[in-house]
């Protein structure tokens, strides 16, 4: 910023010089003006004086001439001569001093001839007097020429004086104007200079302020740096790159490595033992030369106490006041390193264990897989076996039913033939016996059917769906009641739907309703009620009849296969219906039971799951 100051000063000085010169110049000019004017005035005065003297001389000449003429005394010739001399003298002087051309021409052309004429006249007068020609003289005087010359002289000299005055005034005015102009010029110049000076001055002030601000900023910056550098918890050092000589260190660095500042500043890293160990050193050098960032290079450095510490090294190349410097920031990572090692060891251990476990797992998986395969195979086998068994059972049942029935067909068939062909010839008793045979055969057929159904049920899968119990019961009742003659009084209450196997539940209803119809058939007014109620959060369906009922002592026997509590004569039946129902209900996960008394009707209840 020196150049700025020089420039400003130069400007200031220049302005000053200009001002001074201006003043001097103007002064000189003014002075000259005044002097000129003065000289003009002086000349003017002198010329006026000369004119006056000329006039006086003219008068003297006149009076001298007149005096002589009048007196004739020679005394008057003296002034006359004197006046001639002074007229000449003054005329010459005036003529040489008159510069103005107008005046000069007036002088030469007008005034000067008058003077000559006067002189000549006066001489004429004198000469005439001397000659004693008084009357001619008187005539001459009376002619007034002399006076005329004087008057004319007066007139012209007055004119000339006026001209002179005019010239003088003009000159004065010029002078004034000139001076005025000069002064104006001076003042303007000075004013201009003043403004420029003010501006210059302001610039200097501004510059000075800026400088102050810069200085303050610099000071602050220095403070910040000082704090950052010296007080940073990160270890910092500045060294120059050629000999790795330490130029500055901060407190953290000193404390960590166990040196004082003096022990470090000025020394090389080699001297202090703070060198980065090879091969890291080579890598760092390479990086720095390649212009790459040196960040988090981890290395071990020995402290003054001889301890090896792990540090993370960061280096930055900077330029401080045009000097090449390197700032190093070191972070203590000894702890981290230790921990890292611990973790690494841990990891290794873990990995080993994981490896072992994985091996085990793989082995287990393999075993499991084999087991699965075996199981699946077994399942397939079992399923196949089951299917086969099922099929065999089916075939067996079918065959049983079929093959057992075939002879029955024969028995009934041939009994029929006998009746048809020989019925007319038969006795009543014979007919009756044949009927018994037929009945028994029918019975056997039913038994076979029931047994078949019973066995089939054991193997059958239940398909649960939503069953509309109401509609089902209605259907069954309609189906079973349509061919009967006794008018049964039916009371079918609303029945909630259930989730059950449709076919088998229908079988149950058929059985129960069929039984109700059968066992109340002997009643005069058979009445059957169907309904449901809730008990222990379960839906209980029931059917009540007012038929012959049963002995409650044997109510457990009711649901056994082929068990009957009434004889075949009283009521036909195979004794398998309730057993079947019981099986069905049990398969559903529910329960079925009965209540009743002899001739007081029977009530049957069942629940599903």
């Amino acid at each position: 910023m020196n150049s700025f100051i020089i420039r400003s000063m130069t400007i200031a000085v220049t302005l000053l010089i200009i001002a001074v010169l201006s003043v001097i110049l103007i002064s000189i000019l003014q002075f000259r003006e005044i002097r000129e004017t003065n000289s003009i005035i002086t000349r003017n005065e002198e010329n006026r004086y000369l004119m006056q003297q000329l006039l006086l001389s003219m008068l003297d000449n006149e009076t001298g001439a007149r005096g002589y003429v009048i007196t004739g005394k020679e005394d008057f010739l003296e002034p006359l001569k004197k006046s001639e001399l002074s007229l000449q003298k003054f005329r010459n002087e005036l003529s040489s001093k008159t510069i103005n051309p107008v005046l000069a021409s007036l002088l030469k052309d007008s005034l000067s001839p008058l003077i000559d004429k006067r002189i000549a006249f006066s001489r004429q007068m004198v000469s005439l007097r001397k000659e004693g020609k008084e009357d001619e003289v008187r005539m001459l005087v009376l002619g007034g020429k002399g006076k005329h010359y004087t008057d004319e002289f007066r007139r012209i000299s007055d004119k000339m004086n006026n001209i002179r005055s005019g010239i003088l005034n003009k000159e004065r005015k010029n002078n004034e104007q000139s001076i005025y102009r000069l002064n104006l010029f001076l003042y303007i110049t000075l004013g201009f200079i003043f403004i420029l000076s003010v501006i210059n001055f302001r610039e200097i002030i501004r510059f000075s302020n800026k400088q102050k601000a810069v200085e303050a900023e610099l000071k602050r910056s220095k403070e910040v740096f000082s704090t950052l550098f010296y007080k940073s918890p990160v270890m910092k050092l500045i060294f120059e790159p050629s000999e790795i000589r330490i130029l500055d260190v901060n407190d953290s660095f000193c404390n960590f490595f166990g040196f004082t500042k003096d022990e470090l500043i000025g020394k090389t890293t080699a001297e202090t033992g703070l060198r980065i160990p090879s091969p890291l050193r080579e890598e760092v050098i390479r990086k720095m030369q390649a212009g790459e960032l040196v960040r988090n290079i981890e290395g071990q450095i020995k402290t003054n106490k001889g301890e090896q510490k792990w540090v993370s090294i960061n280096l930055d190349r900077v330029s401080i006041q045009n000097n090449d410097r390197i700032i190093g920031s070191y972070v203590d990572i000894t702890q981290q390193k230790t921990q890292q090692e611990i973790i690494a060891n841990h990891n290794r251990e873990l990995e080993e264990r994981v490896f072992e476990k994985t091996r085990e797992l793989v082995k287990n998986e393999e075993e499991l897989r084999l087991l699965n395969e075996t199981l699946e195979r077994k399942v397939l086998e079992r399923t196949a076996q089951l299917e086969k068994a099922n099929k065999e059972m089916e075939a067996f049942s079918y065959s049983v039913s079929h093959d057992l029935r075939a002879p029955l067909r024969g028995i009934i068939g041939f009994t029929n033939i006998i009746e048809e062909d020989y019925g007319s010839k038969m006795e009543e008793e014979e007919k009756r016996l044949f009927t018994i045979i037929k009945n028994n055969t029918q019975k056997m057929g039913s038994l076979i059917d029931d047994l078949l159904a019973f066995s089939r049920l054991g193997r059958k899968e239940l398909t649960r769906t939503d069953v509309d119990m109401q509609t089902m019961v209605q259907e069954v009742v309609t189906e079973l009641d349509k061919n009967l003659t006794n008018n049964i009084e039916w009371l079918i209450n609303p029945l909630p739907p259930a989730v059950a196997d449709y076919t088998t539940i229908k079988q149950v209803w058929s059985n129960l309703i069929g039984n109700a119809i059968k066992y109340s058939s002997k009643n005069d007014h058979p009445k059957i009620e169907v309904g449901s109620f809730e008990k222990d959060n379960k839906q209980v369906y029931f059917i009540k009849d007012n038929g012959v009922g049963f002995d409650p002592r044997y109510k457990d026997k009711l649901f056994r296969v082929f068990q009957r509590l009434h004889s075949e004569n009283e009521f036909e039946g195979t004794g398998i219906g309730l057993a079947l129902s019981d099986k069905i209900i049990t398969r559903h996960g529910g329960s079925i039971w009965a209540e009743g008394d002899i001739n007081k009707g029977a009530s049957f209840y069942f629940t599903l799951l």
Binding site: A406, R409, G413
Partner: protein, 148 residues
């Protein structure tokens, strides 16, 4: 070469069933002759004579209608059906399968081989009687048997 006109050939191994069937068929005197054989071998012999039937060019008997049971010893009904329906001389004879087998495979096979009808013998006697009666009514009265 004697070619006696036999109306119906009943191939049935169960003699009781055979008797009942014949009895029922004979009602209303609709069938002239009903010949009963008790297994497939006899059936083939009856129609084609002994020896390989496939080489025969002449028939011993030519029934108008054959009622054929399936489950029989020696040669079963399906084989008989195959034989009859594959021979030019006999293939137009209507064959009614009359069997207790309700098995789908059997039904399918019989139709595939060209059986004209498949009837399952009911187990109940009454029903059995009705079926035979219906067979009689349909095949001998309503149905037109081809002339030869």
């Amino acid at each position: 070469m004697h070619s006696k006109t036999v109306e119906i050939l009943l191939v049935e191994d169960n003699l009781n069933d055979a008797e009942l069937t014949i009895r029922e068929l004979k009602k209303n005197n609709l069938a002239n002759e009903i010949h009963h054989v008790k297994d497939g071998e006899e059936a083939l012999d009856f129609i084609f004579g002994t020896g390989k039937f496939s080489e025969k060019e002449e028939l011993v008997h030519r029934p108008k209608l054959i009622l054929l049971d399936i489950k029989m010893p020696k040669v079963d009904g399906i084989e008989v059906l195959k034989a009859i329906k594959s021979n030019e001389l006999t293939k137009t004879i209507p064959v009614v399968m009359l069997t207790s087998s309700k098995e789908d495979p059997d039904i399918k096979k019989c139709y595939e081989l060209g059986a004209n009808s498949y009837i399952v013998k009911p187990v109940e006697f009454e029903d059995f009687r009705n079926v035979i009666s219906n067979i009689r009514y349909y095949w001998l009265l309503i149905n037109e048997l081809p002339n030869t």
